[in-house]
């Protein structure tokens, strides 16, 4: 954009006459060409919650002339507090995206999956088609042979409600095993409580914050960014541990450029210093924790000198930071982060994070972790489902034994790891091998199969084998255009969804309601789920006629109503954030087997897992390769928003970050295009080089979500490189089932052509309907 203006300036200086002439012609138009602004019209506001990432901020949608014009943060909402990130702001552009799926599509007979040949169909025909084939699979293989993948708040219909009614345990979310599974499993077995979708870090009360690979500012989770900024304003000290100088690092008092994959060694050394120098909170540990003796013995060997060799962080720095955090404790905190599937020992790393927090005595204390509570909300009184879904949310449930109801098979991923939540990537193999039993059908709601699950070639092979693959989505992403049937959902601004209950300092319930009618022949998820359910013979689970009745019933049960929620948007309840609030009521917040914080986990020991975390080196980087790190840009969510013109103008492609000196030694120039090739020979790109001082020499970094290959998403197509395409390998975390993704290595291949892509602004103008 900036360049645009410059170029214009250059032109105008060179040819004043021409510009002036053009100007006069334009002047004739001006008086009536000045468009009336939307805010001068009659503006209606609608309360809802956002869907452009999965933080679920309350929003106030402004509608004028039958169109959504602007989206703002809902002032009364504890998540947004009247503010929104760029993605929330830009939701309007998704609603009016001309590339959207407009009506149901059925793959043309005789065409292959992936060829993208479709014919339009009515909803009636498309739903009948799906139901008929699903029932056939059920008859031949059983209900468990249909897998259900879901991502986004509408997924409750497709990984919880419908599969539970249908009777398939194979329902999964990428948000679990490709993201948060380790931190949730570790939290369950250390504190006996989940972290949950909204990390319960008491940011603003904290005086010392240590971020480990946690990219606040680049992941613009609204509330978290607000609280983080406020904490810094109030004078909190910040330490950032990251091989890359992240945005958060630019706000830090200390940046520790750790060798990738060695974080656990650093954490163990900090535990060592806190114990050896007697800096831990003795009273807190005695009162609330078990297993300190074992931990103290175990940590003897983890000296800062030992950690220095592994992490490349000086032993003295390790000691200083440990002393500083102890001095600030209990108002010192090591937040859990979110995407924690890194190297394969991730649950143990997260255990070490939590043990450190416990030693600082901050769990349930101001400035540490507060105790998040779910709001009171009743389920709709439908007949009990045959199965309890185990897809998990951002908060996974714990591990251990699990009962399978009579007549149903256990999950297809079972036995591979310890946690109870389903690992989405482990459901791909049964599609190919038929082991432990065949998965023949897939219903995929909003999950980007080619930009989230590692080993995309394997996923493509698996899709080819299925009897039925149904995609429910908003945009014609590449993976959507592989489906047998495509059911176009309307966007979050055009529909109701189920209520969301947010566990928070002040628990609350949010309503999503339509701001405008669905465009084209698109339908809301609840309608699709219900119509499908009726056709699958599950009518007894759908006693409600429409979602308004469903929502109103749920709200009436807690003394509210749909009408009230429409006016309020957010229903706030009282929380119990600190230990003293629980003690006053004689309640114990710790749901562990011992009822205390488990520094040493007996359960882990009984299951043959390390009861205390220990360091295991990550997979070594082969000669000539770099470790591929990845992360976020503040203006995009995963691979979901790269067709949104407002966001694409802000960030149209990703770059590969390479240390400047390292890049020079490879003969690379800043901004030239290269290929990235992983050690399995997969090539991705072209992608622009960003030579930078902000990263170590042994790794490279890509922002996730670019490199779209679906031609139907015309803005996203062919821009940047996909990290997921290069992640052909993952290491299974044996405890959480997480797919550790930072075990992929790439080399830089010169000579890639500069992609011939039009500017976003020009494409937007051409795309106009």
């Amino acid at each position: 954009m900036k360049l645009d203006r410059r170029r214009f300036l250059g032109l105008s200086a060179a040819s004043v006459g021409a510009v002036a002439f053009g100007g006069r012609a334009a002047a004739l138009q001006a008086p009536w060409a000045v468009p009336r602004k939307w805010y001068d019209g009659e503006v209606r506001t609608v309360f809802s919650y956002c869907e452009n990432c999965f933080w679920k901020c309350g929003i106030t949608v402004k509608v004028e002339g039958g169109r959504v014009r602007k989206i703002d943060g809902q002032k009364q909402n504890p998540k947004s507090r009247g503010r929104l990130c760029p993605r929330g702001q830009a939701g309007v552009a998704q609603l009016y995206d001309p590339d959207r799926l407009k009506r149901p599509l059925i793959r043309v007979d005789g065409s292959e999956r992936g060829e993208g040949k479709y014919r339009e169909a009515s909803w009636e025909e498309a739903l009948d088609y799906v139901a008929e084939r699903m029932l056939k699979i059920k008859e031949q293989y059983g209900p468990e042979a249909v897998a259900w993948f879901g991502h986004g708040s509408g997924d409750s219909w497709f990984v919880e409600y419908l599969p539970a009614a249908w009777g398939s345990p194979n329902a999964a979310k990428p948000a679990v095993s490709i993201c948060t599974a380790p931190r949730e499993t570790a939290s369950q077995w250390t504190f006996g409580r989940p972290i949950g979708g909204h990390e319960p870090v008491d940011w603003t009360e904290s005086r010392y914050i240590v971020l480990i690979g946690h990219h606040i500012g680049e992941d613009t989770h609204n509330t978290q960014l607000q609280d983080f900024s406020e904490a810094l304003r109030r004078g909190a000290e910040l330490v950032v541990v990251d091989p890359r100088f992240s945005t958060a690092a630019s706000k830090a008092h200390r940046w520790l450029p750790i060798k990738p994959g060695t974080d656990l060694a650093l954490l163990l050394a900090w535990i060592h210093v806190l114990i050896k120098e007697n800096l831990y909170d003795r009273d807190y540990v005695q009162k609330y924790a078990v297993g300190f003796e074992e931990l103290a013995v175990h940590s003897n060997k983890h000296t800062p000198e030992w950690a220095e060799e592994i992490t490349e962080i000086p032993a003295e720095t390790i000691r200083t930071v440990a002393r500083e955090m102890a001095a600030a404790a209990p108002r010192a905190v090591l937040p859990p982060g979110r995407h924690t599937v890194w190297y394969g020992d991730d649950t143990q790393r997260m255990r070490a994070v939590y043990i450190l927090n416990a030693l600082l005595g901050n769990y349930g204390m101001p400035g540490g972790f507060y105790l998040a509570k779910k709001p009171y909300l009743e389920k709709y009184p439908h007949p009990p489902f045959p199965l309890e879904p185990a897809a998990g949310g951002c908060s996974g449930s714990s591990g251990g034994e699990e009962e399978v109801p009579e007549g149903f098979k256990p999950r297809a991923d079972k036995g591979k790891f310890f946690a109870k939540t389903t690992a989405i990537q482990e459901l791909i193999e049964p599609m190919l091998s038929g082991e432990p039993y065949p998965i023949r059908g897939l219903v995929c709601y909003g999950t980007n199969l080619f930009h989230s699950i590692p080993n995309v070639p394997r996923t493509k092979e698996a899709l080819k084998k299925l009897d039925l693959y149904v995609a429910i989505d908003v945009l014609p992403m590449e993976h959507v255009m592989w489906a047998d049937v495509i059911l176009p959902e309307c966007t979050y601004l055009e529909r109701y969804d189920d209520l969301v209950a947010i566990a928070h300092k002040t628990p609350f319930v949010e309503l999503r309601q339509p701001a405008v009618e669905p465009l084209w022949d698109t339908k809301p998820g609840w309608w699709i789920a219900r119509e499908l359910g009726l056709r699958l013979g599950l009518e007894k689970y759908f006693p409600w006629k429409d979602v308004e009745e469903y929502l109103d019933t749920r709200l009436q049960l807690i003394g509210s109503s749909l009408e009230e929620m429409k006016q309020k948007g957010t229903l706030i309840q009282r929380g119990r954030p600190y230990l003293k609030d629980w003690e006053r009521r004689r309640r114990n917040p710790f749901g562990t087997p011992s009822g205390k914080i488990e520094l040493y986990s007996k359960t882990f020991a009984e299951h043959g897992l390390d009861p205390l975390p220990d360091y295991t080196p990550p997979m070594p980087v082969p000669q000539g390769f770099y470790r591929l790190l990845y992360g976020r840009t503040p203006v995009h969510s995963f691979a979901k928003t790269q067709n949104n013109w407002v966001l694409m103008e802000l960030k149209p492609e990703n770059e590969v970050w390479i240390n400047r000196e390292e890049g020079r030694s490879l003969g690379l120039r800043h901004a030239e295009y290269v290929w990235l090739e992983n050690d399995a020979g997969v090539r991705e790109g072209p992608v622009r080089v960003r030579l930078t001082e902000r990263i170590r020499r042994d790794c490279v970094y890509l922002v996730h979500g670019f490199g779209h290959k679906g031609r139907g998403v015309r803005l996203a197509y062919g821009r940047g490189a996909s990290d997921n395409a290069l992640q052909t390998r993952y290491v299974l975390d044996p405890i959480s089932g997480g797919a550790a993704l930072r075990n992929n290595f790439v080399k830089v291949v010169k000579g890639a052509p500069r992609p011939q892509r039009k500017r976003i602004g020009q494409l937007v103008r051409e795309r106009r309907l």
Binding site: D4, F8, S229, T247, S250, P634, L650
Partner: protein
């Protein structure tokens, strides 16, 4: 009468561009143009490095070079110190675009010069500009310099450092930057630009 000004605390800004997105939607900037953009610049060498994230837009100068060059009076300064364009008087001669030392103006394809207005339509209703209202880091504050109650004064007093863009131009901007990450002030070379 007021003397409106905006402060941006660069110690808090993370360059997330929520302001830029809010501006596009609020003011309906056409695709390919924007009234507000973010510059990102890295300073120093590994491992002693820092980054400046700097949102830029019209600075609503006290002495705006873009006003006297306008042949029709479309480009003007209000009594409240806002520098605005009357679209219906604009003949799209682009003289003001050339005169602005900050590249803050662009030619709207509808045939007039467009730029940041500090969301005067919102200010008139007693609201903050869209960029201020949405900022998740709260790094922006808007107010009246002549109003002793305005939070501007506390921000200015507490700031470790206050800078303006290109002070040598003598334009007296009313968009001021606080707490630059570099001790030497604002990064002043052309560099990587996001948005």
């Amino acid at each position: 009468m007021a003397r409106y000004a905006m402060l941006i605390d660069l110690a808090a800004c993370v360059g997330c561009a929520a302001c830029a997105a809010a501006c596009v939607l609020e003011n309906e900037a056409p695709p390919g143009h924007n009234r507000l953009w973010i510059r990102q610049r890295e300073l120093g060498a590994f491992p002693d490095v820092t980054v400046e994230y700097r949102p830029e837009q019209c600075l609503h100068c006290e002495h705006p070079p873009c006003v006297p060059v306008c042949p029709t009076g479309a480009s003007h300064q209000t009594e409240d110190g806002l520098v605005l364009v009357r679209a219906e008087r604009c003949i799209a001669c682009a003289a003001c675009i050339a005169a602005c030392p900050y590249d803050a103006r662009f030619m709207n394809p509808a045939g007039y010069v467009d730029k940041c207005t500090f969301c005067e339509h919102r200010v008139a209703r007693g609201e903050d500009p869209a960029c201020v209202e949405t900022c998740p880091t709260g790094c922006r504050v808007f107010g009246d310099l002549d109003d002793p109650e305005s939070p501007l004064h506390a921000w200015l007093t507490e700031a470790k450092r206050v800078d303006v863009l290109r002070p040598e131009m003598g334009t007296a901007p009313k968009l001021l930057y606080l707490n630059t990450p570099s001790k030497r002030g604002l990064a002043n070379h052309e560099s990587e630009v996001e948005s």
